[in-house]
């Protein structure tokens, strides 16, 4: 009786992990292995291995300009989106933690875009950006095809993406700013620091772990952006908004080249791992 009970006690913890682990194996680890496997193969239109081709898929994507272009586009997009969404989120967090009335209202508004889906945001902005009927051109008195002109399309999509990303950054930065000890502010106030000096010398250094955390999260999210591109520009005009995930989608589901798409996915994974590792090293070097 006793040994039966203790046997159960030994096994019990693992039983609790079984559902999660089965799902992770089926839908995270196994597809990860399969992605790597397919990246070395030419596939049938149904996604089965037709023939292993070694590194052919990789040499192809790096010699064909389309993929390289999508890397550059993703880089431009991510840099703009990460910087803008963190900076704006930070400004909003600062101005709404000041002693003002209707704080709750402002905070709700600033966090709200977080709840809005990329699909909904995209259709709204498609109309705002519309070249003849759009309110943006009406306000500016211009006739710019924001989403159809190569010069502006990437910037236009970035604006929508930033708008959606601000909410999360705002929430985390607000929480961080509120946890800065008030004695720190009192002591710089005694030194006669003005508004900007106060935030530069106290707020920013105090919240840098949160800034760092947000930097990682935002880079990871930016590199994986997809829905706004699919909805608003389909990678165009002239591939000017063909970011990496959209390129992967096209190779797999438009061109049925699953092997090529998988090798691009592997590159996407490698990029994310390198970025994360780099940021962790950076964090160790900088002392807060």
């Amino acid at each position: 009786m006793k040994s039966k009970k203790s046997f159960f006690r030994t096994v019990e913890p693992y039983l609790y992990l079984v559902p999660v682990m089965i799902l992770f194996i089926l839908f995270v680890f196994w597809p990860f292995v399969k992605t790597i496997q397919l990246s070395f193969a030419r596939t049938t239109p149904l996604g089965q291995v037709a023939q292993y081709v070694g590194l052919d898929n990789y040499t192809n994507i790096f010699t064909d300009g389309t993929f390289l272009n999508s890397l550059v586009t993703t880089l431009k997009f991510s840099v703009m989106r990460v910087i803008l969404s963190i900076v704006i989120g930070f400004i909003l967090a600062i101005i709404s933690t000041e002693k003002i009335r209707a704080k709750g209202f402002f905070r709700t508004v600033y966090a709200l875009p977080m709840a809005i889906s990329a699909a909904a945001a995209s259709v709204v902005f498609m109309f705002i950006f519309h070249s003849s009927l759009g309110i943006l051109n009406k306000v500016l008195g211009t006739h710019i095809g924001w989403l159809t002109d190569k010069k502006y399309a990437l910037i236009a999509v970035t604006i929508v993406s930033v708008w959606m990303a601000i909410g999360m950054n705002f929430i985390y930065l607000t929480a961080a700013i509120q946890s800065v000890p008030s004695e720190l502010y009192e002591s710089v106030a005694l030194d006669g620091a003005n508004f900007f000096q106060k935030h530069r010398h106290v707020t920013i250094p105090s919240i840098s772990p949160t800034l760092f955390f947000l930097l990682i999260i935002n880079v990871i999210n930016s590199v994986q952006a997809y829905a706004e591109f699919k909805m608003m520009t389909q990678g165009g005009p002239a591939e000017s908004t063909n970011v990496i995930v959209y390129e992967i989608y096209q190779e797999a589901f438009i061109n049925s080249r699953f092997g090529v798409a998988c090798s691009e996915s592997v590159i996407l994974f490698v990029i994310l791992i390198i970025l994360t590792a780099l940021q962790f090293r950076l964090e160790k070097k900088v002392t807060y």
Binding site: Y16, A115, V123
Partner: protein, 272 residues
């Protein structure tokens, strides 16, 4: 600490300007959904009257009730599944001692390092292989467990005083009974946050439902909105009405659960 008066005025001005900029797209979407064609061509911002005409059009052009039903089922089941699978695993990691705990915990965290978009093709091929495209199972299964949910609930369980668990054990309470009669009720606040977050996130899924469904009957609201936009290339009003229909539930959930979600999300993050 006293701010100078001009700083205070500047703060109000900035808050009002930013609030307007951020909310304008949502207000404009509502306004356009109420307009007639003349107002659209006139470039008006405010509609002259309120009408549901464009909403009727939107529901005629695409089966929005079906999309909403699908999205509610899918998001509801995903949320429920993530909480159940997550609570079990989180309980083991937080409250139990066993061999390989650390390794298993890292394995679980490693799933956060594998971006979902990088494995989405392989997942699609699995679902296609199993012959379950265009089913709820296809929409739900790959999202039925998430490391974020496990991690979040583990943090919550760790904050419970160890004595509660010990006392319950002495009284002969089994782990499973403890989990659902005492453990889960005790972490309700952070659980609420998680539920809202996961629900919103799955309500807003785009790429996965796009890949695994192609029959209209199985589409979710997000894909349905895309279809509507494709069908109505010239008239934006029903599209805006459709957007409002899918925005209202998520905005409501957000406003109701905002406080809980914010404290729950930031509690587990880096202190700073």
């Amino acid at each position: 600490m006293k701010e100078k008066p001009y700083v205070k005025v500047a703060m109000y001005a900035l808050n009002i300007i930013f609030a307007i900029i951020i909310i304008v797209p949502v207000v404009y979407c509502f306004n356009v959904s109420m307009m007639d064609l003349k107002e659209i061509y006139g470039g008006k911002f405010w509609p002259s009257h309120l009408t549901l005409e464009n909403y009727t059009r939107a529901f005629q052009l695409a089966p929005f009730f079906t999309f909403i039903k699908n999205s509610l089922i899918v998001s509801g089941v995903i949320t429920f599944a993530q909480v159940v699978t997550g609570a079990l695993a989180a309980y083991a990691f937080a409250m139990m001692e066993f061999k390989g705990k650390k390794v298993l915990f890292y394995i679980m965290l490693a799933t956060m390092m594998i971006p979902s978009q990088a494995i989405i093709i392989a997942n699609y091929l699995t679902i296609a292989d199993w012959g379950i495209r265009n089913t709820y199972a296809a929409l739900i299964l790959p999202n039925a467990a998430a490391a974020f949910a496990v991690f979040n609930m583990r943090q919550a369980f760790l904050t419970l005083p160890k004595e509660i668990h010990e006392a319950a054990e002495i009284d002969g309470c089994t782990n499973f009974k403890f989990l659902y009669t005492i453990g889960v009720p005790l972490i309700k606040p952070s659980l609420g946050a998680l539920i809202i977050y996961v629900f919103l996130q799955s309500w807003n899924y785009y790429l996965w439902p796009l890949l695994v469904t192609d029959s209209v009957n199985m589409r979710t609201v997000q894909i349905g909105l895309g279809m509507l936009q494709g069908a109505e290339a010239t008239d934006f009003r029903p599209v805006m009405a459709g957007a409002m229909v899918i925005l209202i539930p998520s905005i409501l959930v957000f406003i109701i659960g905002q406080k809980q979600m914010i404290s729950g999300l930031t509690a587990g993050a880096v202190k700073g």
